[in-house]
Amino acid sequence: MKKVGILSGLSLVLLIVSCASSGGAKLDVPDWFLNPPKDPNYIFGAATATSRDLQIVIDKAKQDARLDIAENLRSNIQGLIKKFDEEVGRTEDSELLQQFTQVSKNVVDQTLIGSRVNKSKAEKEGEMYRIYLLMELPIGEARAELLKQINNNHHLYTRFRASQSFKELEEEVRKLREYEKEQQKAFEESE
């Protein structure tokens, strides 16, 4: 009888605990994702992604995080604000409509050496995988040592290049490089 009482008590406690924890879907977001660490020797990039395919979700998050880091290192953002003034209606009830259209274009062209996943957390949300990922890039450190491993002899596969988007990307990267060269030249001449 005493055992039954203890079991009933335990069951009640478990029931209360389970009821208390089932109040709505709780997002288990890691703290390092919300508050990426700060370190003078590293740049961090945090990203999350979802997909039905585990490999795609990892690749997407890695790409996002690396892009974040690359943008932090150096990016070329060209902003353009267009302002449209439109007057609608007659004089007494005219309404001035101002429409702002902001257009920005961001080009990144960066080689990352030593970028790697520092922390990650993968979980399943129904049929989907979700991953939280923290990418780190050492600043300066170990860069020269890693360069030894590089082999630039292979240059393969150009299927992606056929699309208009990639042609545009290449064009923008070319423009950016030219701009940088001009800036460098102007700087050298001014010295």
Binding site: T101, V108, D109, I113, R116, F160
Partner: protein, 229 residues
């Protein structure tokens, strides 16, 4: 009884069925140890023959592996879209026929056969470098090693998962060494468009598996690889 079963279901590790040398690879400065996988066929000898082939192939990859290709994504207002990738591994397949491996241990795990092999005749199994699974969540730092990890979903045939995770880990290591990022993002009030392209072109050598981990609950396996600095 219910609580006992509940406790047992949580205390049984996902990786219990695998031999220790599979999960925590033996590491030696003198020789390399490689695990070959194959499905469990009707005749065990056929499985071992295939696992031996896989092992030789891995030794060739260990010697020198070129990882080349691109991976493309497009940003959209609803998130990033994966466009595809062309990342491939190139290694010297001519070297395979000259590789002589000696099998140190074998294991049958579920529907696959594992063989632990090395070059030479020393049959002693040295200690592993990794003795826990903390690397799954947080990348460790080992002096003298560059490390990277790769994941793969658990497929119908589990040895495919391990092969894929190993390949992904090698690609991760290559992208760690050098990764070129190019992106164009155009944003205005109404639309977001552009493309981002990551490319890798790296030659690695002496990359070996340091540890493996399987998470059946979330349906994936992880492999940690290392390359001596």
């Amino acid at each position: 009884m219910f609580f006992l079963l509940l406790f047992l279901s949580y205390s049984i590790d996902d990786t219990t069925v695998y031999p220790r040398w599979f999960l925590q690879m033996p590491i030696s400065s003198k020789r390399v140890y490689i695990v070959g996988y194959a499905p469990l066929y009707k005749y065990l000898s056929s499985s071992i023959k295939e696992a031996r082939k896989v092992t030789k192939r891995k030794f060739a990859i260990y010697r020198r592996d070129s990882i080349v290709g691109e991976r493309a994504f497009a940003p959209t207002p609803i998130g990033k879209i994966y466009l595809g990738e062309t990342i491939m591994e190139f290694f010297d397949t001519n070297a395979i026929k000259d590789i002589k491996v000696s099998i140190i241990d074998t294991a049958v795990v579920q529907d696959m056969v594992l063989i632990l092999s090395t070059l030479g005749r020393d049959r002693k199994i040295p200690s592993p470098l990794i003795t826990d699974t903390s690397w799954v969540d947080e990348m460790p730092d080992f002096s003298g090693w560059f490390v990277a990890k790769g994941e793969a979903p658990i497929y119908e045939y589990e040895h495919h998962s391990w092969l894929a995770a190993e390949r992904n880990a090698r690609v991760s290591l290559a992208t760690f060494l050098e990764y070129h990022e190019k992106a164009l993002k155009k944003l205005n009030n109404k639309s977001l468009s552009g493309v981002s392209l990551g490319s890798v072109n790296v030659v690695v050598s002496r990359v070996q598996v340091l540890a493996r981990y399987i998470n059946r609950k979330n349906g994936y396996c992880s492999v940690l690889v290392g390359m001596r600095k």
